[in-house]
Symmetry: C2
């Protein structure tokens, strides 16, 4: 794994996201990295992110799969275009749809591992499939359909990167 996370390359404008923005101090600040063909994010939920005592809130699981998915979509598109992640214009994705299947209760108090894999890149659309595991067991599976933000909707991208 490299040192700098996908999210560390996001321009400031895209860095306020509750899930993945490095500038959102109330948020989750997730970090995603390449691990070969897969992307990986390790996140230990705060105690308030409870569903029932001892188990992780499903909405947090959806959030992790969402932000890790759009981050992976972005990194995959840079790769597909043969570009470094610190080059302009920035490549950012928004979520068009999110699907999560909850397979097992996810224990609270341990690090969760979210692993993403690109299922499809086609034009401005990227589909990322992810698993979320605790202690080596897959507790949830998710899919994000991510759509690239048009350059003209990115304020001041020339200052970013």
């Amino acid at each position: 794994m490299q040192k700098k996370a996908f999210q560390d390359y996001y321009p400031d404008y895209f860095s306020h996201c509750y899930g993945c923005g490095r500038l959102n101090d109330g948020g989750l600040k997730i970090k995603s990295y390449w691990d070969g063909e897969e992307s990986v994010c390790i996140h230990e939920p705060r105690p308030e992110y409870m569903a029932i005592p001892g188990f992780v809130y499903g909405g947090l699981i959806a959030s992790l799969i969402d932000c890790h998915g759009t981050g992976t979509a972005s990194a995959a598109k840079y790769r597909a275009d043969g570009r470094e992640m610190d080059t302009d214009p920035p490549i950012r994705f928004l979520t068009a749809s999110l699907h999560v299947d909850y397979l097992l209760p996810t224990p609270l108090g341990v690090p969760l591992e979210i692993r993403g894999r690109v299922k499809e890149i086609k034009g401005r659309k990227v589909i990322v499939e992810s698993t979320l595991s605790a202690g080596g067991k897959i507790c949830a599976r998710g899919q994000v359909v991510a759509v690239q933000v048009p350059e003209h909707l990115i304020p001041g991208f020339s200052e970013a990167g």
Copy 2:
């Protein structure tokens, strides 16, 4: 609308949920009510629940659709069984799957209205479809497949209600 929300009937054990638990002081504490055949929840997101400046975080939207969906499933099952919501054993649902389509950016700083409708009740499974609107415009659509928690997995239900 009645005064007491679906979530106000949840036994203490089920009231720690980040999204809908009245005992989770760090959480969202959403409240859902019947409005005829539909269920409705009004929620104004806290400012940190941002995606990009001015717009609501998609993971929060997923969370609202999730918790409003399981709450609606519970209320619908009480109704279908001809039971009042303050009777034992408590009827509670967990999410088996969650799907959200993000149709429009959702503005931050206004109340959101989540409206649910029961698509199917079959045995221990209830499917709830919801819309999430801001200022009268539907910004997201979601579906929750909810599964009823078996009574023997509900700790101390006889003290609740």
